[in-house]
């Protein structure tokens, strides 16, 4: 166990990762205690809180204090909002909480971007503002904490959380602190206060999800990124239109497998501890339009955006009728794009989806009429194909490192589409192509098949489960890079 004790402190060059041996060892040690205290709610929550804070410290270092500060401020603000009678005082506190939470987010995430936009980057060169580091997971824990404040303000939650430990644990709960899924207070807080009888079913499901998540992340997403997609997105001009288009198809499945793989691991870990976290994905590429896509992709963020941004905005613009709805959609998606990253690529990506949904809202009646007149099966399949292609083309904006590279890729796809290189490309990129196809095939397989497999795995004896887990690790290891890429959504 060389260097084990030194590895227990924070190292900014080597933050703790879910897919590291160190996490595996730490989680086993944690679980050793958890298995014996989990029936005692207080002890269980104290243990979970300590491990969650330590986990965040190992990932982000002293930024753990910002996490504690955010949670503490909102814990007290939540109380005051609940108990104060006066509406303007409630509003003042809501604005205070928003200012604190979004203030952190703006400072850490958007300060550099804003300096760039306003052309003052040089003025602040080499100052502390120029050296701001973004704490991993801040976008997620800030949204989680805000959910609680909004729910108290709107009285969606009956009473505020009295127990500080429970509240701090809700914000810092280690499985989903880094990249979601964004649990709402009304979903997770009651679970933290309840006693769990963890069943064999939950445990089998948890392990199965961890394995399937790891396969998606390492076998598909990382393999594609390292062996194909990164090369093209790094220097698109060195490749032809066909290769750039294939990279866009690859990027879509890569990001899906990366994020849904991460989500599976998170849900699986929570399952092992007896908690239920809402899923984030439901076969998004089967969507027939972009509106449906956002009901199947990053569902917890969509739900957050709908509840706390889109509906209030729609209400605000209600007198404008259809235009009001479209305005609300566009603003929501502009902010959603910006939430994903302080870069014009994300803003444009968000806006492109916003415009697509606005178009769908505008033409809803017309589309219903068409739907009634033509073959429904044809309509559905063509809708899925059109939607998938829209997603492929817009993912270029999401995945490109800057806007110039994204536009360069579009230009190459439309002006240098040389089909003569296809056979050579297949020869050179045969394995990435196989993995790419595998990714899409696995996605399109019926959910029932996955459910049956899960049930079969659950029914296996524990020793067989271990052997299967071992085989999965060995298979993944064949494609594993020592510098396995960080989960894409950790950056948001």
């Amino acid at each position: 166990m060389t260097g084990f004790f030194e590895s227990l402190t924070y190292n900014n060059l080597n933050p703790l990762k879910f897919h590291s041996v160190l996490f595996f060892v730490l989680f086993t040690l944690f679980y050793l205690f958890y298995a014996f205290v989990y029936k005692n709610i207080r002890l269980r929550n104290v243990l979970l809180l300590l491990f969650s804070l330590y986990f965040y410290y190992k990932v982000s270092g002293l930024f753990v204090f910002i996490l504690i500060l955010t949670a503490t401020v909102d814990y007290f603000v939540g109380f005051w909002i609940y108990y104060l009678e006066s509406l303007w005082k409630k509003r003042f506190l809501l604005i205070l909480s928003l200012t604190v939470n979004l203030g952190y987010l703006f400072y850490y995430k958007y300060a550099t971007f804003l300096m760039h936009i306003f052309g003052v980057k040089e003025i602040f060169a080499d100052t502390f503002i120029d050296k701001i580091l973004f704490p991993i997971g801040m976008s997620f824990f800030v949204f989680k904490s805000l959910t609680y404040i909004f729910d108290i303000y709107r009285k969606t939650i009956d009473i505020p959380e009295y127990n500080y430990i429970n509240y701090l644990l809700y914000v810092s709960f280690f499985p989903n602190i880094l990249a979601g899924p964004i649990s709402k207070a009304r979903d997770l807080l009651p679970q933290l206060k309840a006693k769990h009888d963890i069943t064999e079913d939950e445990i089998g499901r948890g392990i199965f999800l961890i394995m399937s998540g790891a396969i998606k992340k390492f076998f598909i997403a990382d393999f594609l990124a390292i062996n194909f997609i990164d090369r093209i997105f790094d220097s698109p001009s060195l490749f032809g239109g066909f290769e750039n288009l294939m990279a866009a198809f690859g990027a879509l499945i890569q990001i899906y497998c990366d994020f849904s793989g991460y989500t599976d691991i998170v849900i699986g870990l929570a399952c092992l501890m007896g908690f239920t976290i809402k899923p984030n994905f439901n076969k998004p590429f089967l969507s027939q339009n972009i509106t449906e896509f956002w009901r199947r992709w990053h569902m917890t963020l969509s739900s957050w955006m709908s509840d706390y941004l889109f509906y209030p905005l729609s209400y605000f613009f209600r007198r404008l009728k259809m235009i009001g709805v479209i305005l609300a959609v566009l603003i929501t998606f502009f902010i959603s794009g910006l939430w994903h990253g302080a870069n014009w690529t994300f803003v444009l990506w968000g806006c492109s989806h916003g415009f697509a949904i606005a178009f769908e809202t505008w033409t809803k009646n017309l589309r219903y009429k068409i739907f009634g007149k033509i073959n429904q099966r044809f309509y559905k399949i063509s809708s899925i194909i059109i939607t998938l292609n829209f997603l492929v083309f817009t993912i270029i904006l999401f995945r490109a490192s800057d806007i110039n590279k994204a536009f360069e890729m579009y230009k190459i796809i439309f002006t240098r589409f040389d089909v003569s290189i296809i056979s050579n490309w297949i020869h050179v990129y045969f394995y990435p192509l196989l993995v790419l196809l595998l990714g899409y095939i696995l996605h399109f397989l019926p959910q029932k098949l996955n459910d049956n497999l899960t049930l079969k795995f659950i029914s296996l004896p524990w020793i067989l489960k271990s052997v299967i887990f071992f085989i999965v690790i060995v298979i993944i290891y064949q494609t594993f890079s020592s510098e396995a890429l960080p989960f894409v959504y950790l950056e948001f």
Binding site: F24, W462, S481
Partner: protein, 488 residues
């Protein structure tokens, strides 16, 4: 086990035991399957039990980077203002640069140096830079060209093919869809009369005529929008066998105005003919009209005099297929072009497929054959071989250099020595084993060994400095000889 959580613990512990057991029981970290083509890997005990954080910086590479300040905006002129070398300055270590004696005290690069030494005010001396995707779109070559032209004069960007699968670093190129691009590597031409670059272009529709069936007129277009800073004196068309004369209409694309219409004669060999195009026009459009099959090689965009470096790159290529070019035809072309130095930069594409010493021997023989072909094609040229650079291989979950890379480098070096060619060791110049991680971390190269613009500048400058050190040795030797003859 009534408590289901104890089962989870049991699963975790059993899993760790299995991983530990395989790490101990497997005699080798990997199992060789399918004749060296696939290795089944096992997690090593180090990976399971060594929690130390390993810093991946390569000290030699880091030291090299300290010589370069690559901040934006980039000052190209200042970058090339290096300390002038003195006559007789100490020779660079042979581990980096090999310039072997090819007999009678003559060194491998002396023919090129002699041409450089006697370069006059009316001629253009050319360097042919052959390579794979490392050089695609004029990458690396453009930096090397800047170095040479900065010191010895010259302008223009040299050879530019009509189409490519990559964009060009010095211009924006658009072309019609009816170009057919053949190359020695993966799209062979019907005969072995390729251009010196290993590429031939035909215009779709005109090919039937060549076979004596029908003469079908065809027109193809290509337009260039040069980057700011590109300066040239004239443009020439470089073409091979053609049954009938063909025409090129040149247009100033910024004004959509016809400038000239040139007719070029038929030939059974090849021609390099100037177009009547004014110097330094920024946007040009060419319409090529043929009525028979015409084997076109590309444009030459040159200055009045000085040095020109031509980029002859083909993606995926390892150099071996250049053997398919007709040797005599290649020799004549190199002579007509006044190419006096051939730089051959290959190897990256074979690195993943070399597993044993026997493979290296085979590679050495192949490279020797290639180098000798160029010598045979034109004995008046010097040849400089650039060895394969560092590349990442993911093995046992660790990123390391390909283990055979030093041996591949040695094979190239041995072949160069035997053939009487100079050799520059890119692998060692980069910092040796695992140096690519440092290059990649700095954003100078990708892990698979392709250099990004700052990396290209460093490599080109290091290469140029190494050549110049040898040149100054040559000048020193010349001066000594002159003094000796005067004394006599």
């Amino acid at each position: 086990m009534k408590n289901p959580l104890v089962k989870v613990l049991a699963i975790l512990f059993f899993l760790e035991i299995l991983l530990f057991a395989t790490s101990l029981l497997m005699p080798l970290p990997e199992l060789n399957l399918n004749g060296n083509k696939f290795f089944f890997r096992f997690i090593s005990s180090d990976e399971l039990f060594d929690f130390r954080f390993k810093v991946k910086e390569n000290a030699t590479a880091e030291k090299l980077f300290t010589n370069y300040s690559l901040n934006q905006p980039f000052d190209f002129t200042a970058f090339f203002k290096r300390k002038p070398l003195c006559f007789g300055e100490k020779k660079i270590s042979e581990t980096y640069f090999l310039n072997p004696d090819i007999g009678n005290g003559v060194l491998a690069l002396d023919k090129f140096f002699n041409a450089l030494y006697t370069l006059n005010d009316t001629t253009t001396l050319r360097i042919a830079h052959y390579g794979d995707s490392q050089l695609e779109g004029d990458r690396l070559t453009c930096c090397l060209r800047t170095c040479f032209q900065h010191e010895f004069g010259g302008s223009g960007i040299g050879y530019v093919p009509f189409t490519d699968i990559t964009s060009h670093t010095q211009l924006n190129r658009n072309y019609s869809a009816n170009w057919i691009r053949y190359n020695v590597f993966n799209s062979p031409f019907r005969n072995n009369f390729y251009g010196a670059s290993g590429i031939v272009f035909n215009i779709l529709g005109s090919t039937f005529g060549h076979q004596g069936m029908t003469a079908v007129p065809a027109t193809a277009t290509v337009s260039f929008d040069f980057n700011p800073g590109v300066v040239y004196d004239h443009i020439s068309i470089f073409y091979g066998k053609t049954a009938r004369p063909f025409r090129i209409i040149s247009n100033d694309d910024s004004l959509s105005k016809k400038i000239a219409e040139d007719t070029f004669p038929a030939t059974d060999s090849f021609f390099i003919k100037r177009l009547r195009v004014p110097s330094n026009l920024k946007k040009l459009k060419f319409e090529l009209l043929t009525s028979s099959s015409t084997d076109l090689f590309g444009f030459l965009i040159d200055g009045k005099k000085g040095i020109q470096v031509d980029n002859y790159s083909i993606r995926g290529h390892s150099g071996d297929r250049l053997l398919n070019i007709n040797t005599e035809y290649l020799g004549k072309q190199l002579k007509s072009l006044n190419t006096r130095l051939v730089i051959l930069q290959f190897g990256a594409n074979v690195v993943p497929y070399i597993y044993s010493d026997a493979d290296c021997k085979m590679l050495e023989a192949l490279f020797y054959k290639l180098f000798m072909k160029f010598k045979e094609a034109n004995p008046d040229i010097s040849i400089l071989v650039i060895g394969a650079g560092d590349m990442i291989n993911i093995k046992n979950g660790q990123e390391t250099s390909y283990p055979m890379l030093p041996k591949i480098r040695d094979a190239q070096k041995n072949a160069a020595r035997k053939a009487g060619c100079a050799f520059w060791d890119l692998f060692d110049a980069m910092g040796g084993k695992n140096s690519i991680s440092s290059w990649a971390a700095k954003g100078y190269a990708s892990k698979n060994g392709h250099f990004y613009p700052p990396g290209q500048l460093i490599v080109a400058n290091e290469l140029y400095s190494a050549i110049m050190a040898e040149y100054h040795m040559y000048l020193f030797k010349q001066r000594e000889n002159n003094l000796a003859s005067k004394t006599k």
